[in-house]
């Protein structure tokens, strides 16, 4: 049995409210909040970035699993905000975690789904016997152009998943749905991403998420009733809510994974932080549907069954408790934190 043997999360403690951003641009905060379903977002400290958050999440995952660091045979970091254009983040993470030097390692990029792609690679490496444990981390400090709609949701956070045998949550199956769809992109040397506006909805997010989820359920002979929880990529709170409805999932099955409502869109970390929010409360034999989405575009779907091992697994501090511990910034301090003013 192969699956998730441990997980760790990191959420920076700073927040900015939608009201504060809307005040600067003279927009209506009530309309924005109800349109996005997001009230505030997380902001990294001045000396935090994708690498530092990945290390913190990875350390928590290692500590909880009580696995010696040298047993990790692969490290993948998925992000769209790697600190270097050329030079891997994953080597910084591997070094800081004390993994040694003999491990498979790469940075992965596929917009917001790179870390679930990393989980699939780790799963295959474990299944083939090439490694005992593999770690996939999603980490992002998403940049957004001041004044762009994305500025209200572009948050920061990281989530680390260790894949191995004898798991706390078995991966029963995983499938991907991929197509060439230009809904969101950033060209080389451009500081901020561009997006296809309304095009990001139906042909991109909804088509890929539902296609991957339906294919997975067909493969396993499951319906929505076989899942106790569902978690989807969450660029805002409305998209996952709507796609849950399209697949027949009620609010009570998604609520524990909707971290976006409290900290905004954490890009590569978003669906995994949601998954961790659910693993924090899930009981043995419960089943979770996880579907990520990466622009460009693709979705990775997983059927995950919680095992008895979760009962002895240390789950504190829970993701929703980490969310609560925060300090609010005004817009000027926010710009300083994002290094837009020095």
């Amino acid at each position: 049995m192969i699956g998730i043997v441990s997980y760790g999360t990191y959420i920076p403690k700073f927040r900015i409210k939608v009201e504060e951003i809307a005040r600067i641009w003279g927009e209506d905060p009530v309309a924005i909040k109800s349109g996005l379903g997001v009230a505030e977002k997380s902001v990294p400290d001045i000396d935090e970035d994708t690498a530092t958050m990945a290390v913190e999440a990875g350390r928590e995952a290692l500590m909880r699993a009580k696995i010696p660091a040298e047993k990790i045979g692969a490290v993948f970091v998925g992000s769209e905000s790697h600190p270097y254009a050329v030079k891997p983040t994953a080597t910084i993470v591997g070094e800081a975690l004390g993994i040694g030097n003999y491990y498979y390692c790469a940075d992965l990029e596929f917009a917001c789904k790179a870390a679930t792609a990393g989980m699939q690679i780790c799963y295959a490496l474990v299944k083939s016997g090439m490694i005992e444990y593999g770690m996939s981390i999603g980490s992002d400090t998403a940049q957004s152009k001041p004044g762009d709609a994305l500025e209200y949701t572009a948050g920061a956070g990281a989530s680390a998943i260790i894949i191995g045998k004898d798991p706390i949550a078995e991966i029963e199956a995983t499938v991907s749905y991929t197509s060439d769809t230009p809904d969101f992109w950033r060209r080389e040397l451009q500081p901020y991403p561009s997006h296809g506006g309304r095009f990001t909805g139906a042909p991109a997010y909804f088509r890929h998420v539902t296609s991957a989820a339906k294919r997975l359920m067909e493969l396993l002979g499951y319906s929505e009733k076989d899942f106790d929880y569902a978690v989807f990529h969450q660029p805002n709170a409305k998209f996952p809510q709507r796609v849950a409805g399209m697949l027949g999932f009620k609010e009570e099955k998604i609520v524990d994974g909707m971290i976006v409502r409290a900290i905004g869109n954490t890009y590569s970390a978003a669906s995994l932080l949601g998954l961790c929010g659910i693993l924090d409360v899930a009981k043995p034999d419960q089943r979770i549907l996880l579907v990520s989405f990466g622009s460009g575009a693709g979705s990775d779907a997983f059927a995950i069954r919680v095992t008895d091992k979760i009962l002895d697994y240390p789950r504190n501090v829970r993701v929703w408790d980490k969310v609560k511990n925060c300090v609010y910034l005004d817009y000027a301090l926010y710009l300083k934190h994002r290094r837009m003013i020095k």
Partner: protein, 117 residues
């Protein structure tokens, strides 16, 4: 600059210091020579505890620099990432950016401390 930093990575990225097998003293950052035993000392690298207590602190250019006693008794000067510090405050290690060589140079990472809450 790059080679000098690279040699220190192991000690900066995690709390790895020196332990003197002869007198039982801990040093962080690491030392080449035990100041107590001098030449008779036997120093080896050791991973130190992740947590400690602030003994004293000062604020330099808006940054809190504290003397921290780690749980094994080793004392070190390090930055504390917090709005304010207090003597006796419990802290744990955190992986952060130290700085960068301009816009095109290398980014330096290392250990700082954050309050345990």
């Amino acid at each position: 600059m790059v080679p000098r930093f690279w040699r220190k990575i192991k000690y900066r990225y995690d709390v790895v210091g020196s332990y003197c097998e002869k007198c039982g003293s801990y040093y962080y950052p690491k030392r080449e020579l035990c100041p107590r035993c001098r030449r008779k000392g036997r120093l080896r690298d050791e991973k130190f505890p992740d947590e400690g207590t602030i003994l004293s602190y000062t604020v330099v250019n808006g940054r809190i620099i504290a003397m921290i006693e780690l749980n094994n008794g080793a004392r070190t000067l390090a930055e504390v990432c917090a709005e304010k510090a207090e003597i006796g405050m419990r802290v744990r290690k955190a992986f952060r950016r130290y700085g960068e060589d301009g816009d095109a140079g290398i980014i330096y990472y290392g250990t700082k401390f954050v309050p345990i809450c």
